[in-house]
């Protein structure tokens, strides 16, 4: 046995609360470096779009989010690199963002 282990036999008795440290460490070890994949958020959006759950709100533009969520992935592809989304506001008329969408479809065809 090394002299080191003679002097410090891993008792850690000087630690404030060894058990707390061990529990904390063990739980951290189980989740360290793990994060949800980006697909989780994609699935959430798809489910909302599929169920129509996004048709909330009480004004005439309540249907906008549903269309928007459904078209979001397409817009992301068609206008990759542009700031189309930044130009939109939730109060702007749907036509203001449907126009570039329609234009993009024409372009794609």
């Amino acid at each position: 046995m090394s002299s080191h282990s003679q002097e410090e036999p891993l008792s850690l008795r000087s630690a404030t609360d060894l058990l707390d440290q061990l529990i904390y460490q063990a739980l951290q070890d189980e989740v360290r470096g793990l994060e949800p994949s980006p697909q989780v958020w994609v699935r959430i959006r798809q489910r909302i779009a599929a169920t129509g759950a996004s048709c909330r709100g009480k004004d005439a533009t309540a249907w906008v989010p549903l269309l928007r969520s459904g078209a979001l992935a397409v817009l992301d592809v068609l206008f990759a690199g542009s700031d189309w989304e930044a130009r939109l506001t939730k109060h702007r008329a749907p036509v203001s963002w449907l126009l570039p969408f329609a234009g993009g479809l024409v372009w794609a065809v």
């Binding site: 058990l19 989740v31 996004s54 909330r56």
Partner: protein
């Protein structure tokens, strides 16, 4: 509290149908919710499903939220409930502790180096944690990993604070007794747990 205020603002936007606000809220809470679910279920796929379902439930019931109250306890209550459903459905709980200890004892007697001993100790702790029942593990996960206070955990689990304290105490006590009982696995090194 600033975090609470920000959540409240996002909830208001989601009520208007703003999916981008839901995305921001998701980014704010996804990591911790996922880790809590993962620590309870010990299954990455299940943890992702629970995270997904949790946010779908949030979106579906956003109109009923009281914006004056913090969102986080609601999110973690859903996380715990969904985790419980998953564990119950799969019947995956209570790994036999004795078997785990036998595997440890039968394993190669490594060198007495400190690092090895610490690894062994961590393994024993993880096994002991996994042997705890759901209700005790959940409290430990929320307390140590979620870093919630006893009062917050009581709110999340909808239990009296005294019950949470009791479960935390019981969970620690069981871990301590198991660790002390099996300390010979580590070559007879004396450990003392407060």
């Amino acid at each position: 509290m600033a975090l609470h205020d920000e959540d409240s603002r996002l909830i208001s936007r989601i009520r208007q149908g703003d999916l981008l606000a839901l995305g921001v809220l998701y980014e704010r809470h996804k990591k911790q919710m996922y880790r809590v679910a993962l620590a309870i279920t010990r299954d990455p796929n299940a943890a992702e499903d629970i995270l997904q379902e949790g946010f779908l439930r949030l979106y579906g019931s956003v109109d009923r939220f009281d914006e004056t109250r913090p969102l986080a306890p609601w999110l973690y209550r859903v996380t715990v409930n969904l985790s419980y459903n998953w564990v119950t459905r799969r019947g995956r709980w209570l790994v036999p502790m004795e078997g785990a200890m036998e595997r440890l004892r039968a394993g190669p007697k490594s060198s007495p180096e400190t690092v090895v001993e610490q690894n062994e100790l961590q393994r024993i702790v993880r096994e002991a944690l996994n042997a705890l029942g759901f209700e005790h593990r959940v409290v430990l996960v929320l307390f140590y990993l979620g870093e919630f206070s006893l009062k917050e955990i009581a709110h999340i689990l909808n239990l009296p604070e005294g019950t949470v304290k009791s479960r935390l105490h019981y969970g620690r006590k069981r871990l301590r007794s198991r660790l002390e009982r099996d300390r010979r696995v580590l070559g007879g090194v004396a450990y003392e747990f407060s």
